[in-house]
């Protein structure tokens, strides 16, 4: 799955669209809409679509969406 699709899926898990368009370089933790509900729905989406269950440590160790994508691709 291309990274653009991954970024789109991430965007769909946010309650409101971000003011600036998202990209692989987006530092997701700085987004105001990145809250516990967004983590829940995104974790669920990635597990359903890629079969990869992201854990707290994965989010903690990632800065950008590309970092997260690399984790998912490695484990998928």
């Amino acid at each position: 799955m291309p990274i653009e699709t991954f970024v789109k899926k991430f965007s769909e898990c946010l309650e409101e669209p971000p003011s600036d368009p998202l990209s692989p370089a987006t530092v997701f933790k700085k987004l105001p809409m990145w809250d516990s509900l967004a983590i829940l729905t995104f974790t669920d989406t990635i597990d359903m679509d890629y079969g990869v269950l992201l854990k707290k440590a994965d989010y903690d160790s990632s800065e950008t969406l590309e970092d997260l994508f690399k984790i998912v691709i490695t484990r998928a």
Partner: protein
């Protein structure tokens, strides 16, 4: 834990008692700093709505006693016929003695009764049933009174948004008896103790005794307030645990029982929240109509009382019917611990929710 099955035990009645005091997330603007959008989102996504909570002088033992008294008054189970009392709770009246002994005295049971507590939460009702069925199948008991309940509202910090709006209180009483006809059941239980700290009250026990330090309020980065003696939940890890362990536990027990998923009439999962319930149902491809999920929105996550509460609140007419209903029960949570059971139910004498007065 190996899978196991039984043939002679049956539920004859169950009652769940809920406190009369209701809290609504709509009324808790202060907790959410006036953020009505976040409240609306929590209602829509997670299904948080109403919950029943005890007043300060009400305990799990009180709720379960009310449920038990209703069970005795509405069925032909006599107090003198009870052979064992099992009390499942993590919020007992005292650290010593156990709630089962306290209730044994309050209910006036015989001295020959075996009475003990089981310290489990969301998986506890299934563990209690498993113990009850095993004690009956061994020949040592004819009638067992299983009490399961919790008052988690008393261990959450009221200013902690990660737990306070989720948990409600409840106490249940279930009568399990030796069945005259064959009634087959299957059980599977599991534990992942490495996750012990994902849902925990860190202090107040003997590892970290209560102190002025453990009672000090701490505010986290999101503005949630709690002390070391309040319930802490790592919501993301608990969610991951639920969606990874629960569906596989269901499949494993169905395989062991050699029962097709379609043969199960209802899947009664621990009422964690609507999002998790819908998610598990989706992963297992179970139609929503077979999964009771109204209970958590009416009463909150009632820990060990949530499964009997869902049965009493949503399946009562079906269980009272003479035709056998196949139920898949499954609880999962604190421990981390999980337990699943497939049981047959029919002619249940009483199956209702009452309010504590």
């Amino acid at each position: 834990m190996a899978n196991c099955s039984f043939k002679k035990s049956q539920i004859r009645g169950l009652v769940t008692c809920v406190p009369s005091k209701e809290k609504r997330i709509d009324d808790e603007l202060d907790l959410f700093d006036g953020n009505t959008k976040q409240i609306a989102r929590l209602k829509k996504t997670i299904g948080l709505d109403r919950r029943r909570v005890v007043c300060n002088d009400e305990t799990t033992a009180d709720l379960c006693e009310s449920a038990a008294r209703r069970l005795f008054s509405e069925t032909d189970l006599a107090e003198s016929s009870v052979d064992a009392l099992i009390f499942v709770t993590q919020t007992p009246d005292y650290s010593q003695p156990c709630n089962a002994a306290v209730l044994h005295g309050r209910l006036g049971l015989e001295k020959s009764v075996a009475a003990f507590d089981v310290n489990l939460g969301c998986s506890g009702y299934v563990y209690g049933l498993w113990l009850s069925y095993m004690m009956i199948e061994s020949g040592s008991c004819q009638n067992i009174l299983l009490l399961a309940g919790d008052t988690i509202s008393r261990v959450v910090h009221p200013k902690d948004r990660t737990v306070a709006p989720l948990f409600g209180d409840g106490g249940s009483a279930t009568w399990i008896t030796r069945s005259g006809e064959e009634s087959v059941s299957w059980f599977n239980l599991g534990t992942d103790g490495l996750g012990y700290d994902k849902l925990i009250i860190p202090a107040g026990g003997f590892r970290a005794p209560s102190s002025s330090k453990s009672k000090a309020e701490i505010t986290d980065q999101e503005g949630n307030v709690r002390t070391a003696e309040s319930l802490h939940m790592d919501g993301a890890e608990i969610f991951n645990f639920s969606i990874s362990e629960e569906p596989s536990a269901v499949r494993e027990l169905l395989d062991f029982a050699k029962i097709d998923q379609e043969e199960i009439d209802y899947f009664v999962f621990h009422q964690a929240n609507r999002y998790i319930l819908k998610n598990i149902a989706k992963r297992l491809k179970i139609p929503d109509s077979k999964v009771p999920m109204q209970t958590v929105e009416r009463f909150g996550n009632q820990s060990s009382a949530s499964i009997p509460s869902a049965i009493c609140g949503e399946l009562s007419p079906i269980l009272k019917d003479a035709n056998k209903t196949k139920l898949f029960l499954s609880g999962f949570g604190v421990g981390l611990s999980w337990g699943s059971a497939i049981i047959e139910a029919s002619n249940v004498k009483i199956c209702e929710i009452i309010e504590y007065k």
